[in-house]
């Protein structure tokens, strides 16, 4: 069986801002028709990772390792090739996308912008209207300004913009933060459906594990610039093995589960600041309730933690025998 080139591949990707390491070695793949979720909080490096795909990081950033789009290293693309790939090959729905709309331009003009930029000006109006239809925004919104739309509608417009040039890969960075639960469900359903329709790939980034579990096939959890757990989404969320994933999952309890009723659990401290990570140790150790003495002295890498699963925790080795 011939395996097609993955749409996106990170091979040992690192991103440094001077001495600060925002991403410290990530290996991930996204194939056509696949949805991959990346979970993490502030300081995890997830947004930096997303921006590195289209070389959208500031000049102060140094990208190490490889970022392969359709097999080609983005670092080696010429400016013209990069421009062509941006949006037409891979589109990004940014964090806070609702605020990324220009308040003084009409919606239709903004959706048309990437279409026109990538050279095609035939039937632009028709395409814009078809896109709005696909994302479920009423046609009259085309002539409206962003402030006249609701938050959910603006988010749909951002998705329409992302799909405007029929990309092969869509990267969505926190596309549903600040949206209500119901609107969030609508937007995620929409995103998943559109991506499936086009057999495109989707990289979905969020701090909300339940969002990712519902929409993604596979899930990777990032902490302090590294992947600390990886596996099938539902599996990882229902049976997390890394203590950090467990804490993230605990933030969204299963309603009806008596174990979490009146029993909230959180981690002390804050997610680590990339600027003050030193030393060779598991970065999660200061906040880990299950830390062993050797967790403070040796760095911890990903290791097998079950079928199709990996986790960067020494505890996984011990529990592998008992692990489902």
């Amino acid at each position: 069986m011939a395996v097609a080139e993955p749409l996106l591949e990170f091979r040992g990707t690192t991103v440094h801002f001077g001495p600060v390491a925002a991403v410290r070695g990530v290996d991930l793949t996204v194939r056509a028709g696949e949805t991959l979720g990346v979970a993490g909080e502030s300081g995890s490096g997830k947004s930096t990772l997303a921006l590195s795909v289209l070389r959208l990081l500031p000049r102060t950033a140094t990208v190490g390792g490889q970022v392969l789009l359709g097999g080609a290293d983005v670092a080696g693309l010429s400016w013209g090739q990069l421009r062509a790939v941006r949006w037409a090959g891979t589109a990004i729905v940014f964090q806070g996308a609702m605020h990324a709309l220009n308040p003084v331009r009409r919606i239709a003009d903004q959706i048309a912008e990437p279409i026109l930029l990538h050279g095609s000006d035939r039937d632009v109006d028709g395409r814009v209207h078809r896109l709005l239809d696909q994302v479920g925004v009423p046609a009259r919104a085309a002539r409206a300004y962003p402030h006249e739309l609701s938050g959910g509608q603006r988010q749909r417009v951002m998705i329409a913009m992302a799909l405007a040039c029929d990309p092969d890969l869509v990267i969505a960075d926190e596309p549903t933060t600040a949206l209500d639960v119901m609107v969030q469900a609508q937007v995620l359903d929409l995103l998943a459906a559109l991506v499936a329709d086009r057999a495109a790939g989707l990289l979905l980034i969020s701090h909300d594990l339940s969002v990712l579990a519902g929409t993604c096939q596979r899930l990777a959890v990032m902490y302090a610039g590294r992947i600390v757990e990886h596996g099938p989404a539902r599996d990882v969320v229902d049976h997390p093995t890394h203590p950090y994933t467990q804490a993230l999952a605990a933030a969204h309890p299963k309603i009806g589960d008596p174990a979490s009723r009146l029993a909230p659990h959180g981690l002390p401290g804050d997610p680590p600041d990339p600027t003050d990570l030193l030393g060779l140790r598991c970065p999660f150790q200061p906040r880990c309730a299950a830390a062993r003495p050797d967790c403070a002295t040796a760095d911890v890498t990903l290791r097998p933690a079950g079928e199709h699963r990996q986790a960067a925790c020494v505890l996984v080795d011990r529990s592998l025998g008992a692990h489902r």
Binding site: A22, G40, E41, S42, G43, S44, G45, K46, S47, T48, Q95, P271, D273, P274
Partner: protein, 290 residues
């Protein structure tokens, strides 16, 4: 986080701004000289009846900057003139800033019809030709430094008022002001504990620029003959030079020193003020992480 305004932060930032630093140094020198005038020189020589030099003599060995129409040393006059110009400039700026800050604070904090009335008054004074009003006041009131200070102070507060009001409105939208109100704090508490400390740095920067304007205003008024006839200031020197035909006599040494003095001091204040503004109103925003 939000604007850094602790003392060490301000000093460090000003140090980094070379123009501001240059202005500060110039000001330090000028102020030092002005303060030390009675120590380093003999004011007796300012008395017209005791002048010893020749009339309108060009710079020579004895009078480094020449003499005026009464034979007094221009250098001495310039030196002492600095005291008056600085004094009036600072006093007028202080008056203007106090009025402006109070008006701006009250308008920003209370809103409603109070603010409407105050802001319309501000607009009125803003639109009024300040110089004309200052001249009018100076002619009506008794001649003297106090009058000049009053005239300038009363006409230049609107800009400060607007800046202070804008900043007050901004601070009032901050979460910690909501919290102070939820804790039970009243107007006075909010103003004194939260608004004023945030507004003062801005006021300081604005004051510095205000002084520059006040010095020019004082010089103008004195030049027009509205100053205190018994005191020597740079403006009055220019007035004297003009009326005594120094221009036609080609006595450049009488015109240049006060003129350059005004320019240098105003420039120094402006540089400092701009540097302070740059420090106090940071435009950078904290970047996201992750």
């Amino acid at each position: 986080m939000t604007a850094l305004d602790t003392r060490p932060g301000v000093w460090r930032a000003v140090r980094g701004n070379r123009a501001g630093l240059a202005g500060l140094v110039i000001l330090a020198v000028v102020v030092a000289l002005a303060l030390l005038a009675p120590v380093l020189t003999d004011p007796v020589a300012l008395d017209v009846t005791r002048a010893t030099g020749a009339r309108l003599a060009p710079p020579n060995g004895r009078f480094w900057l020449g003499t005026d129409e009464s034979g007094r040393s221009v250098l001495l006059l310039t030196w002492w003139g600095a005291r008056i110009s600085l004094l009036v400039g600072l006093a007028a700026a202080a008056l203007s800033v106090v009025i402006g800050t109070v008006v701006g604070l009250v308008a920003g904090q209370f809103g409603g019809w109070v603010a409407a009335v105050l802001m319309r008054a501000t607009d009125f004074f803003l639109v009024l030709p300040a110089l004309v009003l200052a001249i009018a006041l100076s002619t009506v009131l008794t001649r003297g430094l106090g009058t000049i200070v009053l005239a300038i102070g009363v006409t230049s507060w609107p800009t400060t008022a607007r800046i202070v009001r804008a900043q007050t409105l901004t601070i009032r939208t901050r979460g910690y002001v909501d919290r102070a109100v939820a804790l039970g704090g009243g107007h006075w508490h909010v103003i004194s504990k939260h608004v004023l400390p945030a507004v003062l740095p801005l006021v300081l920067a604005n004051t510095t620029l205000n002084v520059a304007g006040a010095i020019i205003a004082e010089s103008t008024l004195s030049f027009l003959g509205l100053g205190d006839p018994t005191q020597v200031s740079w403006g009055s020197m220019l007035n004297a030079a003009w009326t005594n035909g120094a221009v036609t006599a080609g006595a450049w040494w009488y015109l240049l020193p006060p003129g350059i003095g005004i320019v240098v001091v105003v420039l120094a204040f402006t540089l400092c003020g701009r540097a302070l503004e740059a420090v106090v109103l940071p435009t950078r925003r904290g970047g996201g992480r992750g």
